[in-house]
């Protein structure tokens, strides 16, 4: 135990020769140097094999019980991700609450970056993900939580989508990576669409701010027409109906309470009717985008299939289990309940 080398973050990438490249970030203790972690890399066929190879490179015995983050490179995630998660499920010492994320491009460079704010890269990345979870930008998913969803034919997984901004040596959360069954589809939701998806799934808003331009571009300073606001409350109702032609309809009602945080143009109270209209149009359009993107990816993030199984088992039996989600007709209805103007009118 004393000589153990802790693994805090693991990355999986697929090389051009279809082999698995595993990276492991291990913290280096009691060093005065600013770089406080070391990256071990191994190429192998499976994670288990890679572990054996990594063990030879590590100074102590590898201990994965503190592995709290698993980063999947894009090329790796587009294949079935479940078989190689087996090693995480099987070993009783592994942490099942490890977070998972898909990385744009390769995952390995992410654990090699040197962050100025936090010398331990694993902690830096984990904090990045957890704060994005806190502000309802990405779903809170861990290795154990996705297991049920990924095996469920009636629901699909969504995972955080992260990018390395190589110029600034920073990682940033891009949005949500959309999965179809066990594979990443290549489609993702951007940072404005992602919170909306989570709200549409019934999540409670936290620090979700949006901004958009609703003035006419002809004006001298169109930038001054931009309004920024925060969603303070949200209430979602989802209603699933199947009509006589076996067409599945999903009515999505979303009621929002907003608070304006910036309105350079002046009087919120006076422009309230106009704002309400514009907000409704904005969110209806955004919802349309989210649903369109989900259907393109064939990612049943709402678990419509699961609901069909539960409430309309006969309909589900006769359905094409692979493509059913694309046939679902969504009718979103966004209601802006209140606009709060802050302390200024």
């Amino acid at each position: 135990m004393k000589n153990a080398t802790l693994v805090q973050t693991v990355t999986y990438d697929l090389t051009s020769k279809k082999r698995l490249r595993v990276g492991a970030a291990t913290p280096v203790l009691n060093s005065a140097d600013s770089l406080q972690n070391m990256t071990l890399v191994a190429e192998a066929n499976t994670p288990g094999e890679a572990r054996i190879l990594l063990n030879r490179k590590a100074s102590g015995l590898l201990d994965s019980s503190k592995n709290k983050l698993l980063l999947l490179g894009e090329a790796y995630a587009v294949h079935d991700i479940l078989p190689f998660l087996d090693i995480h499920y099987r070993n009783p010492r592994n942490a099942l609450d490890a977070r998972l994320a898909v990385v744009k491009g390769e995952a390995l460079p992410l654990i090699q970056l040197r962050s100025k704010s936090e010398s331990n890269v694993s902690r830096y990345l984990l904090n990045l993900i957890q704060s994005a979870e806190e502000s309802l930008l990405i779903p809170k998913e861990d290795i154990q939580a996705i297991a049920s969803v990924i095996m469920d034919p009636g629901e699909d997984v969504t995972l955080p989508y992260i990018e390395l901004e190589s110029s600034s040596q920073l990682a940033s959360v891009k949005g949500i990576a959309l999965f179809d069954k066990r594979k990443y589809t290549g489609f993702y939701l951007n940072d404005t669409q992602s919170p909306l998806l989570l709200l549409l799934k019934g999540g409670k808003p936290r620090q979700n701010s949006f901004s958009f331009n609703f003035g006419s571009p002809k004006e001298e300073f169109p930038q001054r027409q931009i309004v920024s606001f925060l969603i303070t409350k949200s209430n979602r109702k989802l209603k699933l109906t199947v009509d006589e032609h076996k067409q599945i309809h999903v009515a999505l009602h979303l009621k929002l309470v907003l608070r304006v945080i910036e309105y350079p143009n002046g009087d919120v109270e006076a422009d309230k009717d106009k704002l309400l209209r514009e907000y409704k149009a904005y969110f209806t359009k955004l919802t349309g985008e989210v649903i369109h993107q989900l259907q393109r990816a064939n990612c049943d993030a709402f678990g419509i299939g699961r609901m069909l199984m539960a409430y309309h088992p006969d309909v589900w039996r006769g359905l094409d289990k692979e493509q059913y989600f694309r046939q679902v007709k969504f009718s979103p209805n966004i209601v802006i309940d209140k606009i709060k103007s802050g302390i200024e009118h």
Partner: protein, 367 residues
Amino acid sequence: MVVKKDNIHKNQIVYMVIQAQVGVGILSLPYNIAKYANQDSWISTLVAGVIMLLVILIMWLLCKSYPGMMMFDIFKQLTGNKLGKCLIIGYTIYFMLQSSYVLSKYGKIIEGWILERTPHWIVLSLMVLTSAYIVKDSLQSMIRFFMLVTPLLIVLIALSSYALRNANFLYILPVAQNGWMPIFKGSREAIFSMLGCDLVFFLYPYVRASHTQILKSVIRAHLMVTLLYTYLVFISLVYFMSPNDIKRVPEPFIYMIKSYSFRVIERMDLFFISIWIVSVATSFMYLLLLSAKGLAHLFAAPKHVTFLPVICLLTLITSLWLLDSDKLNVVNNYLTVCHYLFQAIIPALLLFISIVRKKTGDKREEQ
């Protein structure tokens, strides 16, 4: 023969039954039932509870008609000395086999989840020694121990309930989709985790309470255990997706709890297992006690303690052999037959004989 410190108060019956019933099987209960009944497993536990009620009634009626007699004495009374002795031997072997199974199952889980490299004999001997230490004294001290550890079950329930945070209640719908046959098959598995009421009936003369009071207490305890099982199975059903996900892990409870970590206790599962060990110990103790009592009756010895070392050693060796040769499943198959035989068929037959005897006896008196 009944010493005062061996008396059992009527309020203690509830604890006795609960602790004897809840045991090693609880961890794999949802997995075992879901193999057959999938998302309807929670109905299976309820059905099993009702079936078990019949077993309780049979045993109670049998004990009631021979007040003041131990179960082993009733055997002799009803079937004659020779056959009665055979029955006692049969029951003793059954209890010993069951305790070896409990012990080796315990060893297997401990090996898989916590102590991967510790030799089996250390883990198992510790369990046998602690249990024997409590069983060797008076009945009263064992039952007081049962009472003492019962609140731990609340912790167990609370820990499992925490998993409801990630529950998806749609997983149990639609109810009874595949008909009732799978549910009944699943309930067969659930019954095996509900065995343990026999403890009260084998110690019937020690209980200071009227017949109806005893029955009421046993049924009350049995009801609590049934509801507890149903609740626990329900939790794991809404947590794991049936049928694929729940069939992945044989011990769904530990798995469920392992995925949570708190600031103070990072591995909740270790905490959970430590509490579960106590439940295993209590069921193991009752099996030890009954096997020792059986041998004592066979040789007409006044104290069961005399035979405790032999039984402990035999159980330990058997369970070690079972573990090392990986024969747990084989033994479980034999045990299944034994459960039917010793818990239901033999008591029912004996009850039948006793009713027939009573009737013919009454007729003789009339003549």
